[in-house]
Every structure is written in structure tokens, then in C-alpha cells.
């Protein structure tokens, strides 16, 4: 178990944020750190990895102290047994895929490295050098390499955000599978709700440097105050009167939808409002494309 109890002053987009976190991360669970940019998600991963130092507190992994401000303990990153995958894959360009894995291994073992590549469907690429690979392949190699490190915890900082939607969706499935095969404890930073929902066992939702919500994705993302199950956040783009009704055009993510509302509701609405659109789970129609 990773036990964290830390605080740090951060310079966020809106000024100084007092980042404070007390949280225990259970082993073999997939955790997502969710929230807006600039509230300390990446900083949290960097503090766990030892790349940044908290002002106060402690970080323990399976009882081993990685950081303790009072006892003045601060293990260097190499001693923390942490695997780190970033958005932009940092592979060694002059080494083959296999060599990249061997370099990362604490005890060089070709058959073990090949096992990892095999499990991730990368064995056929083992002699290739990174610049001959696609973005998705490179990110999978980066993931394989961090697994070769035999980390106690895998830290993923928006690992898929530079990829196109289709590759991203495929890699999400693979990431989940890899997490399960290698029985990893994973902590991923993401601000994509869909990704968070797909991958996580547990979600840690941060707001302004503090825990806003913590729990299973279904508990967190499905509405707790209403029985509506078909619920989206969107922005009002247009409001138009038609006959005795009004049609409100709403942008939801990359889609644009229209919703019919009554005159009595329209008075409260304005173009630019961020709103919640919901309907019952009974109404929508599903068609295969």
C-alpha cells in the first residue's frame, strides 16, 4: 500500500494553491487522479516519484519510508521503484525496443523482457528502433519499459493524451489489460471522464489542491442528486423561439445537440451558460453505426 500524507504550496494558474493530501492507495488497484489542469495532479505524481519534494509530510510504500520531512528522509527517484510514463514517450532512440527494456531492468534478463513484449503484443517489434514506430506503438513500448523496471507503483501522466481518438481508445483497453496481467498498482493522471470511467477501480478527484471526491467511478460520475442517468455537461450555444416552444442548441464535448424547452425555463438560460442536460435512461434510442 502507498500511504501519502503531504502538503506543498504550489503556484497554480490562479495563484498559490495549498496542496494537501492524505490518502492510502491499495495495491493492485487502478487509481485515477482526476481534476482540472493546474491543481497539482502531475505534481503529486512527481512527488511520489521523488522528482519534487513536498513541504511537509510523509510518503511510504509497503511500510518503506520514501519521504519523511521530520526524519529528513528523501529517497532519490532511482531507489523508489517507480515506473513513470509521460505523455511524450521518452525512449532511447539509438536503442532497439528490446534494448530499451533491458536498459530499464534492474537485473538484465532477456527472456523476461521478451515475456513482457509478448504479453503486450510487441514481440514482433523487438529489433526496431523507436523512430520507426507509430505514436501508439511508441507509447506501448514506453509502458513495457516501465513494467520492465519492476516498479512497486506505475505512474501514468496523461499517457494517451497525444494520441488520436481511435488509438487512444485501443490503448485504454490495453492499459487496463496490462495492469491486470502484471498485477500493477497504477496511478494515472487524466482529465478525460470517459477514460477515467473505463480504466479506474478508484478515482481521486482533486479540486484546488484538496480531495473533492474519492470512490468508484460509478459512484462519482453518475448523478447522486437526481434519478436521471443520461446526463451531460454542456454549453449553451444558441436559444431560438419556434412556434410556442424554444429550441436550445448545446455543445457537449465535440457534439452539438438540440433540446426543446418551455418558455417558463428559457428565462433562466443564456448563451454561454454551462449547463447539465439530462434525460431518463428510458428515453434514448441506440443504433449501431
Amino acid at each position: 500500500m502507498l500511504e501519502i500524507s503531504i502538503s506543498k504550496k504550489l503556484l497554480g494558474a490562479t495563484g498559490v494553491i495549498d496542496f494537501e493530501l492524505i490518502c492510502n492507495f491499495e495495491k493492485e488497484e487502478f487509481w485515477t487522479i482526476f481534476g482540472e489542469s493546474g491543481i497539482g495532479k502531475t505534481t503529486l505524481l512527481r512527488m511520489i516519484a521523488g522528482l519534487e519534494t513536498p513541504d511537509k509530510g510523509s510518503i511510504k510504500m509497503d511500510g518503506e519510508v520514501w519521504f519523511d520531512s521530520e526524519k529528513k528522509i528523501n529517497l532519490i527517484p532511482q531507489k523508489r521503484k517507480v515506473g513513470f510514463v509521460f505523455q511524450n514517450y521518452a525512449l532511447f532512440e539509438n536503442m532497439s525496443v528490446l534494448q530499451n527494456l533491458l536498459f530499464a531492468q534492474p537485473h538484465k534478463n532477456i527472456s523476461k523482457a521478451e515475456e513482457i513484449l509478448e504479453a503486450m503484443g510487441l514481440l514482433a517489434l523487438k529489433e526496431r528502433v523507436p523512430n520507426t514506430l507509430s505514436g501508439g506503438q511508441r507509447q506501448r513500448v514506453a509502458l513495457a519499459r516501465s513494467i520492465a523496471q519492476e516498479p512497486k507503483i506505475l505512474l501514468l501522466d496523461e499517457p494517451l493524451s497525444a494520441l488520436d481518438a481511435l488509438t487512444r481508445s485501443r490503448l485504454q483497453d490495453e492499459l487496463k489489460k496490462t495492469h491486470e496481467i502484471f498485477k500493477l498498482t497504477s496511478l494515472m493522471v487524466s482529465h478525460d471522464r470517459l477514460e477515467v470511467f473505463k480504466l479506474s477501480d478508484q478515482v481521486l478527484w482533486l479540486k484546488e489542491g484538496k480531495i473533492f471526491q474519492i470512490g468508484k467511478p460509478k459512484e462519482i460520475f453518475l448523478s447522486k442528486t437526481s434519478s436521471s442517468k443520461f446526463s451531460f455537461e454542456g454549453e449553451i450555444l444558441n436559444i431560438e423561439k419556434k412556434d410556442v416552444i424554444y429550441v436550445v442548441t448545446i455543445g457537449i464535448d465535440k457534439q452539438i445537440v438540440e433540446v426543446v424547452v418551455d418558455e417558463s425555463e428559457v428565462q433562466e438560460l443564456q448563451v454561454g451558460n454551462i449547463i447539465n442536460v439530462s434525460t431518463k435512461a428510458f428515453a434514448p434510442i441506440i443504433k449501431i453505426r
Partner: protein, 131 residues
Amino acid sequence: MNKIKALIDTIETHDGITRVLLTSGKNKLTAITLELPTSFKIGSEVNVIFKETEVGIAKNFKGEISFSNLLQGTILFLNKGKILSKVNIDVDGINIGSIITTNAVEQLTLGLGDEVKIFIKATEVSLEEAL
């Protein structure tokens, strides 16, 4: 959007589907939902929500109907458009809006002061915590 305050009388759940019976004044209402948020309990005050476009109107109604929510009221207000019309009905002091076709308004010869019955399907009714 119609919003009526009501109290939860019974909650019946089977296989993730929930039937909620409610009382608002002297009227009984029914809502069918998937899993209900845990904060909804028997005796909780909630808002019963449904869109104007889900409210049907009948005049001189006789016979049986499958709609679980059946209320009686008087037409307070009528705004006829070319295709759609907005009808407001007073149900024991609660104003309920209905959007139906102008064709239907004419067929039923709806007018101010008419006694009507209104229908809402239980699966179109949402429940929300009354804050």
C-alpha cells in the same frame, strides 16, 4: 419543465429497476427509474420532474389506460401555435404545463376552464432531491 414537490411513500426495487410511489397533496404519483440514489428514502421530500412534451391531455375520458400518472385539473391558459400549443392546467393549485399539437387542441375543442385529465408515463418522470 414541470416540477412538483412530493413525498416518497414506497420504494420497490427488483433487479436494478425501481418503482417509487409518491404523494403530492391528494394526488398519487409513480416514477420508474434505474437504481435510485441512496439519499432517496421513504418519507424523503423530492421534486417530481417531467417535461411539458410528456404530458398528455384527455377530455370526457372514460375507460382504462396504462399511464400510471393520472391527474385531474382545469385549463388555466392556452397558447395556440401553428403546429404546437402550450396548455397550462391547474391541478389542486399546482400549475402543470403541457405541450401538445394544435391539431389535438382543436379536436378536443379545449378551452379555458375545461375540466381535463392529464397523463404522464412513469418512465418519463424524474426524481430530484428537494433542496
